[in-house]
Amino acid sequence: MLRLDTQFEIQNVTTPKLFKVITPEEFVSKGTASCAGEASFDDLMLWLEESSTDNLEQWLSVPVGGFLLPSYSDELVSVSATLLTNPKDPLVVRPGDVIAVSPGSKVVRVLYRRGANSNLLFMTDRCNSLCLMCSQPPKDVDDRWHIDENLKLIDLVDQGTEQLGISGGEPTLYRDGLLAIIEHAKRVLPEKSLHILSNGRLLSDPTWISDLQRVNHPNLTWGIPLYADNAADHDNVVQAPRAFSETMAGLYNLQRAGQKIEIRMVLSKLTTGRLPEWAHFVFRNLPFVQHVALMGIENTGLAKKNYDQLWIDPADYQAELNNAAFFLDIRGIAVSIYNLPLCVLDPVLGRFYRQSISDWKNLFIDTCQTCSATHACAGFFKSHSTKWQSRKIHPLSVDDLKDMQGAPNETA
């Protein structure tokens, strides 16, 4: 687990700005080609460690946008470019990352982390639902600036195949911005797959169909949550009337537009009771979906407030989970189970298990110290507390592992 922001001593920042942090070696060998899209020297920030001390003066004369000195203090250096020194946590920003700085703030945000499994284009804090277990409660603010930031970010990330998430909030709220971002990603990063998390409600507007067909991204998946096989239960979970029918209409519109669709379910006391019926509903009404993700609950945000409504020990829904997973699996729909510790999972479900928790919010607890399966286990969210801990948590032996083989896949 590694945070996505930290503090620096920052000099010479007049506007909010994104930088690609690169080492002198990468700068010499690749120049601006270390960024996937169009970039100038002004977008680059040189990472000058102690090994560059011999030639510090010369390195600092390079006309790049900024310098990051992880091991110098700022009084040694005088430059007109942006200068970052004295990181509070030196591990947060590393070469290859894309960072954001703003005037008047010491906080540096990591927008893209080289080699991470969880890089995300964050679209907005706004949302048109208010799910009981929301891990990131929405804020009603105009944050359209995220659109520009993401367009710039796409230019500065690394080339190469990997998945980029698009999330929020509800990304479809900024419709034109979202379409512009998908289009830009298709042009600059055609080799990267995109995964959009959306509640699908606004997609009930059929004019999305032609827009999505026009953009025609080659590798884009929509992750749409569907929390029940009936409107009353679903609308209750997302705390929005008519949400169920809007989401269903949105799912059909996505199918009409030829989009790849993933159905997502968050496992809670409100949803696990009818899990077999839900699986039946998905197969009967949405047989075209590519993937069904059954996900353990993230115990943060609104979930904490609604603990009593939501908490069920995962050990108590393994039968329903088993029923639903195999029902869909034998009918040809790919199934994954996310965000549960491996030791509470019914061993026969091992082949659906994915090591799924994003690396920046993933941790293991004391019980895990003697477990031989931590390399294959999603572990816990950083927000983990004993209140949300299954009674079945126990260290696994090597023999236990033979019964189940987890495969790393995408992340939550």
Binding site: T15, P16, K30, A33, K152
Partner: protein
């Protein structure tokens, strides 16, 4: 076996063969194979290496290839500025490195406060147009950036200790020649492809 049965058998066999005679398999010949609209499988093409000088079709626009032959005769001795023939002739790249990007989300770009005030965002678009007007020669700006990377690479390798100013002057040229001699490259004092490769510099 009666004669009639033998006839039946023969007729039966030839009927069985009949459909094969009409099939494309049966009358396939070389001419047909050659003339068919057969195209190489696009997936079987060798990988294209983007942005490296090792690619077959890569053209080093900075190297001034044309002057190489005239210098190869006096290759290995340091001869001051004789390796420098002005004006430098650049070969135009065949690839569209400098094509301005298709405008996507341009309304957002122009509305972006961070890119509007910083020369990178808006400036790069006009630069791209400038490339188009001058038949895709590397702009002076790009050239000086490349020279800076060469100076830094030489500095790291202890061949150069001067300013990182992006000017390919006598001092940089001398360092470049010294590096070329030590690396077994024709000592031209130019940023040619073998030299950039040896310095580990990929040009855009």
């Amino acid at each position: 076996m009666k004669l009639l049965d033998r006839w039946k058998l023969l007729i039966g066999q030839s009927i069985a063969i009949m459909p094969m005679i009409g099939s494309p398999m049966a009358d396939a010949n070389q001419a047909q194979l050659a003339s068919a609209d057969w195209l190489p499988n696009p997936n079987s093409a060798p990988p294209a290496f983007k942005n490296t000088l090792n690619a077959n079709d890569a053209i080093n626009v900075y190297a001034a290839h044309r002057s190489h032959s005239s210098h190869s005769s006096h290759s290995s001795h340091y001869s001051g500025s004789s390796g420098y023939s002005a004006p430098r002739a650049y070969t135009a790249p065949s690839t569209d490195y400098y094509t301005p990007p298709a405008s996507t989300g341009s309304s957002y770009r122009s509305a972006n406060p961070s890119t509007a005030t910083v020369p990178s965002g808006t400036g790069s678009t006009t630069k791209s147009n400038a490339y188009g007007a001058t038949a895709a020669k590397p702009a002076a700006d790009d050239l000086s950036m490349l020279v800076r990377r060469v100076q830094l690479a030489l500095m790291v390798k202890k061949y150069y200790s001067g300013p990182i100013d992006g000017v390919l002057g006598n001092s940089t040229r001398g360092s470049l020649m010294a590096f070329q001699v030590d690396s077994g490259i024709i000592s031209s004092g130019k940023m040619d492809t073998p030299t950039l490769n040896a310095l580990g510099i990929a040009i855009p």
